[in-house]
Symmetry: C2
Subunit: 264 residues, 2 copies
């Protein structure tokens, strides 16, 4: 269980993350500077990553880009497990009935990882794609996921107290967040009002199996189409979808490795 820092491994991940974080590619020297690693040390790593097609080196630009095999590898995280497909089916039924987009995600440390969406019948297509992360407190399903933690746990997750704003509407500090989380625990529903995307409101629920919160799901609605009456409909449908999904996960419990436990 020892926490050994293997330098080379960390470097490879740093390299990949750095290159992934920019659209326009990165040169060897750029990497050397931003990671504070000698060019001569980076060179063999980059060559091997490029040979294995986890990177691409464009000679004309002298820049490295992400390679296909990074994509292939990453998608194995979801392609190996068909639980997600079953969950998408449930979500798509709700999508069909409401015409609004559904999101599904899990917790990854302090962020929510967005795993799946259902927007076949949505009037407005959202730009975001699965595989993105957002601060958990800024989204509806993120807050649903955080609602499993008591105030002191939230404080140790966010020792600063102040929360980084995603939009002007994002909850600003841990104490306000805890008030909201308490509300989620009592009502079973989380709400988001333009806190991660301006103009979008959400209702969200936590997916619990064996008393453990494993995932969050939300329905995202443009403000101008959001009414109290529709909110009731959303909550009914979400609640129903929630229990279906909980049954699906419970039936395939062994397949559920997404974001694992929070121990260690």
């Amino acid at each position: 269980m020892g926490s050994s820092d293997h330098r080379t491994t960390a470097r490879i991940l740093d390299i990949l993350e750095t290159i992934a974080s920019v659209q326009d590619g990165v040169s060897l020297s750029d990497l050397s500077r931003s990671l504070a690693i000698p060019k001569s040390s980076l060179h063999p790593l980059l060559c091997t990553l490029a040979e294995r097609r986890y990177l691409h080196y464009l000679q004309r630009e002298e820049r490295y880009y992400l390679g296909e095999n990074t994509f292939v590898l990453g998608n194995k995280y979801v392609n190996n497990h068909d639980v997600l497909e079953q969950i998408k089916d449930v979500m798509q039924q709700v999508n069909q009935k409401t015409g609004e987009t559904l999101y599904f995600g899990v917790l990854s440390k302090r962020d929510v990882l967005y795993l799946a969406k259902a927007d076949l019948h949505s009037q407005f297509r959202v730009v975001s794609n699965p595989g993105n992360k957002l601060p958990a407190y800024s989204t509806g399903y993120g807050k649903a996921l955080l609602s499993q933690f008591m105030p002191d746990q939230i404080h140790s997750l966010y020792p600063e107290g102040e929360l980084k704003l995603v939009t002007p509407q994002t909850v600003r500090n841990v104490d306000q967040l805890n008030i909201q989380l308490e509300g989620i625990r009592t009502t079973g529903f989380a709400y988001e009002k333009g806190e991660s995307t301006t103009g979008i409101q959400c209702v969200a629920v936590a997916i619990k199996v064996d008393g453990q919160v494993l995932a969050g799901m939300s329905i995202a609605v443009p403000e101008f189409r959001y009414t109290a009456q529709r909110e009731e409909q959303f909550k009914t449908l979400l609640d129903d979808a929630r229990s279906q999904i909980q049954r699906i996960i419970a039936g395939n419990r062994s397949q559920w490795i997404y974001s694992g436990e929070y121990n260690r």
Copy 2:
């Protein structure tokens, strides 16, 4: 341009690929045996990968699984570039008109990498998801992509001559493949009859920009719904979509790094 084999880098990729290739997770000892690497050497690598959440270690099972960050990283390959989104739009229009599924992919060495699909209005949902690879010769859009290569180039790609069958219908050897590729070059259309999925037929086209084949696109139709008359419709729509997509790519040429060049 030196091809140095950096052992540690190769090992990390081997580790990730091995773990990604099985559903049920892998133990340290399993990895040690299958990769022929001492356990003591693997241990620090696995610890670091797990700390960075590219792997998850389930203590109760003593097994390693892929972690979320592998997924997050891999999706940056497509999330950073919105050309794909525009291409999907074009494909979805064809999907809406035909009710059949469209596929889009690029070449990765001898395989086709499946990048996007449009199946919103399809009667049958296909199980496969983006991020998968298939032998290029076994699919319609794969053959469209291979049609850029002359017989001798194909022979050097597949020196064995015999091709591994994906289904009983898959083309069996390089010479037959070359005959088909010649037909694709003259007609501009590639066909697939259950060669990668039994019961599914495809028509496919190559996406060319500046005289270079960059991608392939196909429409996949269940055999029983495939008629000569509809085939004509598919070809017209595909051809139209092709030129739209070529214009999109030409307009964002710099964004197109997918699978890069084949030099080096």
